[in-house]
Structure formats: structure tokens, C-alpha cells
Subunit: 342 residues, 2 copies
């Protein structure tokens, strides 16, 4: 009898996703126990998880779906798929300055491949442990491979980093180098499979900037994570805040190895529009820069100033028109809204 | 230019899922505003929604995926698909006795069919308004039709209805008739398309028992919603609580029209194992019955006693072995765990 015939949904959840360390007093039936220290009054196994929010903090919630061969290669290492699916969600918490608390997982699988599931769960759990976030519920269905994660973080009331707070004549900064993930995607597409390669690693194993987000609470006036590319994500901040931006393309920190692997034009374009980098793009007043840098230094993280906010709408200083990647085509209205100009 | 070429992801969200009534000061760019009365400090359009939990209450969280042609017919009315996808999630809140607050939607679409999306959104929003739950975030991707919703409710600390609280010699009750959804599924499969048909209506337009769940806080010792069927769901309670159950099959309230449409054996089997009914199945001590009935009467809802908890493990009184529906095959261990005996 094959695994796919033997494993029921409940067994699958019990075997791969309910852990002693995760649910405290987990029982063989997969009915989750409590763990007050993590704010989990009741874990997996009931109709809902029961969570205890921290008094005086706000709850930050985000959902993201990762589809095979749309958001990641279906034949990527399962550990990387598990890691990456959670990482892109954690990045949304980082962009709000929120501290990770709990997540739920909706997993759609074409079949039950226990080796694949073990790898997937290992990648997922390792990043969850590293980030201090707990799996508190899930759903497993059968269909095309798809991973939807809803993350929950907490942030002291009124301190969240939003997109709509950028003021005029503020600095635009990034918390790390960009373009690596796009370079890695191209490397994957050209057949590279050694994920110790720095670019491929940047693509398959993104590192959400959780420490940077928390450190910038109360200092950055706006923030977003770079998922669609620097130009497109900066445009989101500009639209929400009612400002424009001028960026210095030469100042963009290129991911290590990018300039060596590609010609300068390709490397620069990867950094501007590649996406999937998951560093934070923020604005802050000039007087806050030194303090922000000091906060971030404690986490071995640096800030690079890449431009300034301006009154004139649009993104200025970009040599050619660039817009970020969307799941569906961008209509002309939206394209012009990014206002990319030479 | 077709809609599918013209509509970007942001446009789609703006057009169908960001509503003035939903986001307060929503702007044309889809950047969500606040609505303190609903606990929404920041709605759609940022990296995360920011929510303000109610002090002293616990957060109840659940996620469910609905796949086309697995959980609903792909050619069902789009209004019903939107309604049903949210209803099955709200039912999990009902089963905890939680009051609905916020939800996020991950929608995977094969293409952009604006007529379909309008219907889907109408069904979704109508039930959300009726239930007092707010859409605070989402993700739209392109692939096989799939709807994953994460719901958030709140319940005063220590009052949630869990699965693990059933005691010995308690009454087993249901909050409404069962078997209707399974009858409706069979009607759909046999070509019935008039959803004013009571059975088809029960299947396509389930009504989560939110009022019943709230009314039973502090009275029921355990609760679950009937999604897998009475026998399978009662087995979940028994396993979590460490009790057995004896049910009186004759006492099961059949959905109106079920007995007329099918032979008695089929109708009874639909009621026992059909699933998708989304009434609540609860246990409570006999002395609490009158008070529970009084609470529920205020919501035009009745309780029907269908059995008692017993010491001997397993579900007793069921004529033939029945187990609930699972996405994957049930392994022998699980089947025996339900302990269905004659």
C-alpha cells in the first residue's frame, strides 16, 4: 500500500505539522495543547486555534499564496519551498515592524510524497523556529501544488511602519542589497542547481528583514518589503503617501556576485525591477538616519541611502521605464501611475 | 482589449474587494483606511492589516481552502461559491462560540471573468455583512480556481467551546437538521439546478450557526461543526475528550424534504455521514439543557438531543460502519478510531 493510499488528512497533519515543541502537550490524536508563553491557549486540532493577544499591541495580519511554477520552481528543493513560502509572508510582518507570533498553513498537494513533505516541513519549521513564529492551524487539500500562509504579528499600538507616512524631502533607504533574487532566478532558469551559489541562494532562501523592521519602529516614516522590485515598491509608498521620489540608480547596493555574473545593464535592471529581494525599502527624515543606523548595527544590518522624496509625483531618476511584476497584466493607468521617467 | 488583459492584480482587488463601507476612507489607489469601530486600524493596501483585538478576549483563528470540483461544483452560481467559501470558515468560528471579526482572502483564478467575479464578490460580501465580519486583506494569483479564507473571531477568555471538554453521561445535541447538504449534492449531481430547491439550497448556501455558538458559550461542554458528518465529527469530540458516545439514530432531525426525496436508508445515511451541514454538534450536562434551549430560542434555533456520552470508547448505536469524508483516504487506524459499531 503506497503512502498516498495510507495517509489520511489527519495523519498527514499529525505526522508532518504537529510537533511537540510546537503544541506543548500535543497528543497522538493531533489535538493541540496550550503554550501560554507563546500566547497559544489552544493549538492545532480544534475548529480554531485560540490565541491570547498582547495587551496594548496591534495585530498585523497578512496572507500570501505561493504557486508551483508561478512563484517558485516546482522542482526546487522541498526545504527551500517550505522556507520560501513562509519567508515571503514573514517579510510582510517585517515591513510593518511587527514581531512574528502565529501562522496558519493551507497546503494543496497533488499527491502525498512523504520524502517531499519531510523536506518541506523541515524548511518551514526551521525558519519558523528561527523567527519565533508558531504554526497554530492548517488545512490540507488535494490539487495543484499551492501554499497559502496567513501570518500574524504584533506591534505596539501606533508604532507600525505603514506605506502612507512618507514626508517630503526625506531619505529613501534600503536595508540590504538588491537584485540577487532576480539573478538567482535567471541562474535557475539557465540550469544552475547548486544553491550554495550566492545568487541562487538569494532566490531560493530569502531572509525576511524582521530585525530591521523591529529596529526601525518609530524611526522610519514608511516602509515596504521589496517583493515587486525597488521601482514598483517605491511607487506603492509614493502613491499611499502622496509624494514623488528621485532615486540615484548608482547608489543602489547590488547583491554580491550580481555585477560579476551579468553585464552592468542587466545587473542594474535586476536591482531596480527584479523583485523577490525582501529587503526593506523605507523613508525617514535625515535627522533620524544616524539613530536608525545605530539600531540596525546591533543586528549586523546596514542602511543605504538610494534617494529622496520629492513633491513631483512619480519615480524620477530611472533611465528607462520600469514597472514591477504582477500576476496579471498591468493596465496602462497603473503603468503611468508608477510615473517612471528618465 | 479583453478584461483579462486590462485588469492588473491591484485593479482587480480595488474593483471587487475594496469597498467604501469596508475600508472607511478607502482611496482610489486601494489603500485601506481605518475603521476603529470594527477594530480595523488599517485595512487593505499595506503589507499587513492592522487590527485592534478586544482586551480580555481571545482570538480564534481558522483557515479553510475550497477547491473547484472538490469542495464545490466549478459551475455552481458564483454568488453561491463566494457565500459558501466564507460560510464554511464562519462555521469554524461558530463551533468555538467566537464572534466574527476579520477575514483575509487568498483567491486563485484561472482567468479574469468580471461577471463571475462580480457574482462571487456579491455572495461573499453579503454573507460578510450579515455576519459582521470584515475583509481586511487578500492575495490574488492565477491558477486552478481555489479559495482560501482565514477567519478571525473573538471570544471572552476561558469561554470558548472546545472539542476536549465533553464529560461522561452528558447529552449530545445538534442545533439543526442534518443530511440536507448531502441530499443537495446528490440533487446537483443528478442535474437539479434550481437552488430554491430546499436540499440544493442547503448544499449551496449553508448557514453558519454563529448565533447558536455564541448562545452556547458557558453552557456546552464541547462543540464541533458538522462538516465531515455527524458520526465522524462526534468521533473528533470523543477522541479529544476521552469519552465514547451512544447515538439514537431515530432521533436525528432530518433536513426537510430529505425523507421525501430519498428512501429512508439513504436519508438516514445522509444525516449520519453526509457532512457539509454546518449545524453544531455539542455536548452538555442534562441540567444545562433548559437554559441552553432558552438561549437558543431567542435566535429561533432549537436543540435536538441525539444521544449521550458513555465511558466505552467509540460511537455506538450506528447500524453500519460509517466514517466521514476526507480529502485523502482514511487509513485503517483512523477508521477503527471512530469505533462505529452496530
Amino acid at each position: 500500500m503506497s503512502d498516498s493510499q495510507r495517509l489520511g488528512e489527519f495523519d498527514l497533519i499529525r505526522r508532518f505539522f504537529v510537533r511537540d515543541t510546537c503544541t506543548g502537550s500535543a497528543r497522538r490524536d493531533g489535538y493541540g495543547g496550550d503554550d501560554p508563553a507563546s500566547g497559544v491557549a489552544l493549538g492545532q486540532g480544534d475548529d480554531c486555534a485560540l490565541l491570547t493577544p498582547t495587551p496594548g499591541w496591534q495585530l498585523a495580519v497578512s496572507v500570501d499564496t505561493s504557486l508551483a511554477d508561478v512563484h517558485f520552481p516546482a522542482d526546487a528543493p522541498p526545504e527551500a519551498i517550505g522556507h520560501r513560502a513562509l519567508a515571503v509572508n514573514l517579510s510582510d510582518l517585517a515591513a510593518m515592524g511587527a514581531s512574528p507570533r502565529w501562522y496558519v498553513l493551507a497546503l494543496t498537494l497533488p499527491d502525498i510524497d512523504t520524502d517531499w513533505l519531510e523536506g518541506f516541513a523541515r524548511g518551514l519549521h526551521r525558519l519558523a523556529d528561527h523567527s519565533g513564529i508558531r504554526l497554530v492551524g492548517g488545512d490540507v487539500t488535494r490539487g495543484s501544488l499551492s501554499i497559502t500562509i496567513t501570518v500574524h504579528g504584533e506591534v505596539p499600538a501606533q508604532t507600525a511602519l505603514r506605506r502612507d507616512g512618507a514626508g517630503l524631502d526625506e531619505l529613501i533607504v534600503v536595508t540590504g542589497p538588491v537584485g540577487g533574487a532576480h539573478g538567482g532566478l535567471r541562474a535557475w532558469q539557465s540550469g544552475e542547481r547548486d544553491d550554495t551559489d550566492p545568487l541562487l541562494h538569494a532566490y531560493l532562501w530569502p531572509s525576511p528583514a524582521l530585525n530591521a523592521g523591529e529596529a526601525l519602529r518609530g524611526l522610519a516614516t514608511s516602509a515596504i518589503d521589496v517583493s515587486d522590485g525597488v521601482v514598483a515598491d517605491l511607487a506603492h509608498i509614493c502613491r499611499a503617501s502622496g509624494v514623488g521620489a528621485r532615486i540615484d540608480v548608482e547608489a543602489l547596493p547590488l547583491y554580491p556576485g550580481l555585477a560579476e555574473r551579468f553585464d552592468e545593464q542587466t545587473a542594474r535592471q535586476a536591482a531596480l525591477t527584479g523583485g523577490d529581494d525582501y529587503v526593506l525599502l523605507c523613508t525617514l527624515p535625515e535627522h533620524a538616519l544616524a539613530r536608525a543606523e545605530a539600531h540596525l548595527a546591533a543586528h549586523d544590518c546596514t542602511l543605504t541611502v538610494i534617494g529622496r522624496t520629492v513633491a513631483e509625483p512619480g519615480i524620477h531618476g530611472v533611465p528607462t521605464e520600469h514597472v514591477g511584476w504582477q500576476h496579471f497584466d498591468v493596465e496602462p493607468d497603473d503603468r503611468s501611475a508608477t510615473g517612471a521617467t528618465s
